[in-house]
């Protein structure tokens, strides 16, 4: 099958890759672009480990074709920190021990970042509902939710 040339902007940098029609955005990011921070958990949109932001919208990259990304602006976990400076969410995840095995963490961080960009003062209920599509089998979620709430407070300057 012929491949399609796809031109995107990933984490602020121009990025091009070749994609077969059935290639998911997740596989393109990991295997074609080399950004392996985005994880495949279920591959069916249930677990959120593959969460990325496409044109400002949080999506599962396993549920999007790479060819659909033509012209899109994509944000992945690799773009969350600024150089060596961690994003407040990343610092709070470490501080609260909001991860154990860490496989779900990139998805949680990207999803939480998209929440805080939309709502800088979410209630605990809003955090829990927003993150309902991100599964974690280690932490029991409580530390994740507290880390997100505290990061939001810090970012508000509270």
């Amino acid at each position: 099958m012929s491949k399609t040339h796809v031109t995107t902007t990933i984490n602020g940098e121009p990025a091009e890759f070749l994609a077969e029609a059935g290639l998911t955005l997740l596989d393109a990011l990991r295997d074609e672009v080399g950004l392996t921070g985005t994880k495949e958990g279920c591959g069916s949109g249930d677990c959120g480990a593959c969460s990325v932001i496409v044109d400002g919208r949080l999506v599962c990259s396993c549920l999007m074709l790479a060819v659909e990304a033509e012209g899109s602006t994509i944000e992945t976990i690799e773009g969350v920190a600024t150089g060596d400076t961690l994003h407040p969410l990343q610092r709070k995840f470490i501080e609260y021990a909001a991860l154990q095995c860490g496989f779900c963490t990139p998805g949680f961080l990207v999803a939480a970042k998209s929440l805080l960009e939309k709502n800088n003062n979410p209630t605990e209920t809003e955090v829990r509902f927003w993150l309902a599509g991100n599964l974690c089998r280690c932490t029991g979620y409580d530390k994740i939710v507290r880390a997100v709430m505290d990061a939001a407070a810090e970012m508000r300057g509270a």
């Binding site: 069916s44 949109g45 599962c60 549920l63 074709l65 999803a111 309902a132």
Partner: protein
């Protein structure tokens, strides 16, 4: 996935021609949140994916003279962010926003939720209750059908080869009218309806119901329009006796399956209970 082609036409006629002329299995894609999963597990092996999102009008919500036109590929997230639509048809928006996670809401569409033809789909009962019309483009031109005429069986629709839904039309909301949708699941998020119920009502100045439409999901192979339940509401206020009649009429039409989400008896009972709750919300929204 070898042998698969992808195309994103920019006009409806181009999309119709691509779908109609494909020798193998052509699938329409809007959000792709069902399609890609079915391809991954091998249930569907399309030779052509026609992505409709590049066609003008397929994404977006327009208010025309009080009616709402919703592009068929519009995501649940966009619907939830449209203040006018939320105000006019809260039940339709709530039902759509129950589909999947935040991530899925960024992609999943009304047309996909309908044409995936799952008995447990959330948006169809609310759309049916609201009197939504699906506009279908195809090789023989455009036709308009009520949403309840689309799904014919689990996984099957009445769309012919080359046809796809381009938009949904919600009627102008009448004075003193309201709609609502509830689904029952054993948890609070990320599950498939055990029962779903959508109801839309219009009241007169005295608070008496003058028009009603009731639809149930997940209790039969397709969404049901429950005429007897609507008849129980029309001409009445929401008294205990009317609620009991509504409950009984809904239970009477249920033909559910037994599965891990609920037994036949349980689903049937819950259909009546949900209908009572949904009717109360719809009446309240209509100003009762």
């Amino acid at each position: 996935m070898s042998g698969l082609s992808y195309t994103a036409p920019s006009t409806i006629s181009e999309a119709v021609a691509l779908l109609a002329n494909e020798a193998g299995l052509a699938k329409v894609m809007s959000g792709g949140t069902d399609l890609l999963v079915q391809m991954k597990i091998g249930r569907l092996k399309p030779s052509l994916i026609v992505d409709t999102k590049k066609i003008p009008g397929m994404i977006g919500i327009r208010e025309i003279g009080g009616c709402f036109v919703i592009g068929a590929a519009t995501s649940g997230a966009l619907m939830g962010e449209h203040a006018g639509l939320v105000a006019a048809w809260p039940g339709v928006v709530e039902a759509t926003n129950l589909i999947g996670s935040t991530q899925v809401q960024g992609r999943a569409s009304l047309a996909g939720n309908l044409c995936n033809a799952s008995p447990g789909a959330d948006s169809p009962p609310a759309m049916i209750a609201a009197g939504a019309i699906a506009v279908i483009a195809g090789p023989n031109g455009t036709r308009e059908v009520p949403v309840e005429a689309i799904v014919t069986a689990p996984g099957r629709t009445s769309l012919g080869k080359g046809e796809f839904i381009t938009e949904f039309r919600l009627p102008k909301k009448a004075a003193r009218s309201g709609d609502a949708y509830l689904r029952f699941i054993p948890r609070t998020e990320m599950d498939i309806a055990v029962v779903g119920c959508g109801i839309a009502v219009t009241l007169d100045a005295a608070g008496v119901c003058v028009a009603a439409k009731v639809s149930l999901g997940a209790v039969a192979p397709t969404q049901l329009v429950v005429a007897g339940a609507a008849a129980a509401l029309i001409g009445n206020k929401l008294t205990d006796a009317v609620l009991a009649k509504l409950d009984a009429e809904c239970q009477a039409v249920c033909k559910p399956i037994n599965d891990k989400r609920g037994t036949i008896e349980y689903r049937t009972k819950v259909a009546g209970v949900l209908a009572r709750r949904v009717a109360a919300i719809a009446f309240q929204r209509a100003g009762a």
